[in-house]
Amino acid sequence: MLNIKPIFSSLLRSKSGPVLLLVQIILSVAIVANASFIIHERLEMMQRDSGINEEEVLTFSVFNFDPSIDGEQQNKIDQQILRGLPNVQAATSTNMLPLSGSGWSSTLNLGPDPETAKSTPQFAMYLGTEHTVKTLGLKLIEGRNFYADEINKSVNDPGKLAIISKAFGEAVWPGESAVGKLLYVDDEQLEVIGVVEKFQGAWVDSDELEYSVIHNVDFAGYSYMVRAEPGQHEALQDAITKALMKENPNRVIDDFQSVAEVKKRSYRDHELMITVLSMMVVLLLLITSLGLTGMVMFNIQRRTKQIGTRRALGATKGDILSLFLVENYLICLSGGVLGASLAVLLGQQLMKYYDLPQLNLIYPLMTVVGMMLVTTVAVVLPARKAANISPAMATRSV
């Protein structure tokens, strides 16, 4: 019906053109499939929920450089001042910033004897106060928050408590409630009193990003986090600097940024990768379609007489159009199949040498479908020109 057999045999006879197209399509499918897979994977990564109200949390650092400052005392006063500022909904000290790429990480034991006890996976070790949950906008789903009188001054103090992320609890005690469970540092114990639904750590590329623990320590003198409407952050920066400098001028207050900004910076390399790869995909499709158009034009020129003869023998314009379409679909499909296999091979190599997951088959498939579309557009325009070749051409110059 579509005259595939004669088209196929004519393809076999004129080697160079179709072979070139075939190779080009094979390579394009392999590249586009892998690139779009990586793009999708990175996009998904960036869309993960951190559990934090990223836009509202403003973070900054306070560096007390006068040796005569009593850090602990100053920390208490500073937090009082912060909570007293207008528009501040909550404020707390912290030892590290979420999603920032730097901070404390640790493992703990599940029993008192370090020789025999199993240890937990690595987790982000936040030091925080009774205000941490509210400041970050975390959702407490089980247990309770710290009470004000439970907050320790140092990590070595007894009475160690923890609020953990749900993911961490599920990893350590699968199928059980984590509240009331004990973790150990040598023979000192740390009791889990609360679970938050989601709370990411600091390292966005880590497999343990979802594992976080908030430990009840008011960590003096590095970073602070306050919660306020995003629109008020700029005014708040000035207010905070002014209020804290008035309290004690011997310090540097710096690094104001929202958690959303911190997050954006941490994902910058992934965003870059997405941009470059997207650009590559678009350009590649463009180049391939240009190449296709060029090849079809070349074919038409070479076969002008043939087309004229066919027209003279009774072929309609539609027949000519479908001839070129079918011919190029054949090339595109076989190229697509080979290209998809190459894409899978390439994906396996990437997976072997680099930290990439297995290529999902949907990507080569989608790419082949996309290529068919591009082929249609690239072929129809010149082929319509071919269809307009007059039958009289056949009689000329024979």
Binding site: L20, V23, S28, M280, I287, M295, D355
Partner: protein, 436 residues
Amino acid sequence: MFLYYVDLAWRSIRKTPILSLLMVLAISVGIGITITTLNVYSMMAYNPAGERSEQLNAIQLWSQGPDSWDDFHRLVTYQDAMNLRKGNVAPAQAAMFRSGMAVQTDDPEVLPRLQGIRVTDGDFFKMFEVPFVYGNRWDKAVDLDPAYQAVIGEKLNQKLFGGENSVGKTIYLNRKPYQVVGVIGDWNPQPKYYDPTSGAFAKSEQIYIPFSLAANEEFSVWGNSSGWKHEPMNNYQDRLNSEKVWLEYWTYLPTPEDRAAYKNYLANYVEQQKELGRFTDNKSPVDSVLMSNVDGWLERSHVVPEDNKILVGLSALFLSVCLINILGLMLTKFLKRAPEVGVRRAIGASRGQIFSQYMVEVGVIGLFGGLVGLLWAWGALYALSARFGVAEGLTHLSMSMWLITPTIAVGTALLAGLYPAWVVCRTKPSVYLKSQ
């Protein structure tokens, strides 16, 4: 003859402007992407140590206990650093870490500013060939007997002292006076190979102070500290006595004999420490030490991210698609001109002449493509640094690219042109003469 071919090529290009433009565009896009990724990659993979690469060796020790880390840590403990410093076997050596303090001067107008500080030994400047504008490193005696002295960078000197010779002046770090003994020039090796752990493409510090002060002054650590066992850290002394790793240790060992001897010395040192009850993992002393030259160190520090390797690979594939593309276009173009070739052959041009004429034409197109591609790459790199804040050192179009780009462009174009030119030069004159 060559010039005549160039002239013919130019005419032929002008005769089919759209097709030629398509070809130039196809090459230029492929070249643009390839050069962009290649440029970033080559900047990242650059070894700033040059010929000293072999001679500078970072020391890594397997000080961890059994069942802890699976690999050598890039940092060493304070105890080990101090012991190696005391051993004083290498011709030059430096322990170091990154810290930070608030800087002030005698001028009350200068607001205190927080500055990253490198705490290291005096040999640092000699080992890493740091250029001095004024003054010099602190005296070697200071490395044993601490003194409050500092070397500052040109930029900071500009800000604090207006760029004049500040040797002998005082700066205050966390309110403590330090005497400036030297001002170093513009020195910012990228990657920052002497300490990639705190950002491989971070700028070099503007203040350097003696490592010998660390124990007394308890400088805060602005880099990594890692421990493989639980150790209470109630004060700075605990940190110094602990098995935590947080220091880089570099040695300068000019000859292979020096390096072999130093390795031997390290193995002996580990054996000694094993007797003292440290280095408890069951690894032989020789296997517990690792000396990496700069190349090896950059490799171990994963300075070039995997993403960049993937991008270079994909863009090379991309370029090959462009190559096949122009191959097809060129075939179209050349065969269109077959009648003309027929006439030239009939008048007496040899196959070789036709072939070289077309290769020249292809080469010219490739050269144009390369030039436009260089523009693309330049634009893309500019966009990268503007939009993504990629370190300036990485987005600067390297000089070598001015040579590499045309080479790749003309090379790929010639490669793509081989087949079409061969096809066209086999044209039989008779066929075309007949049909005219």
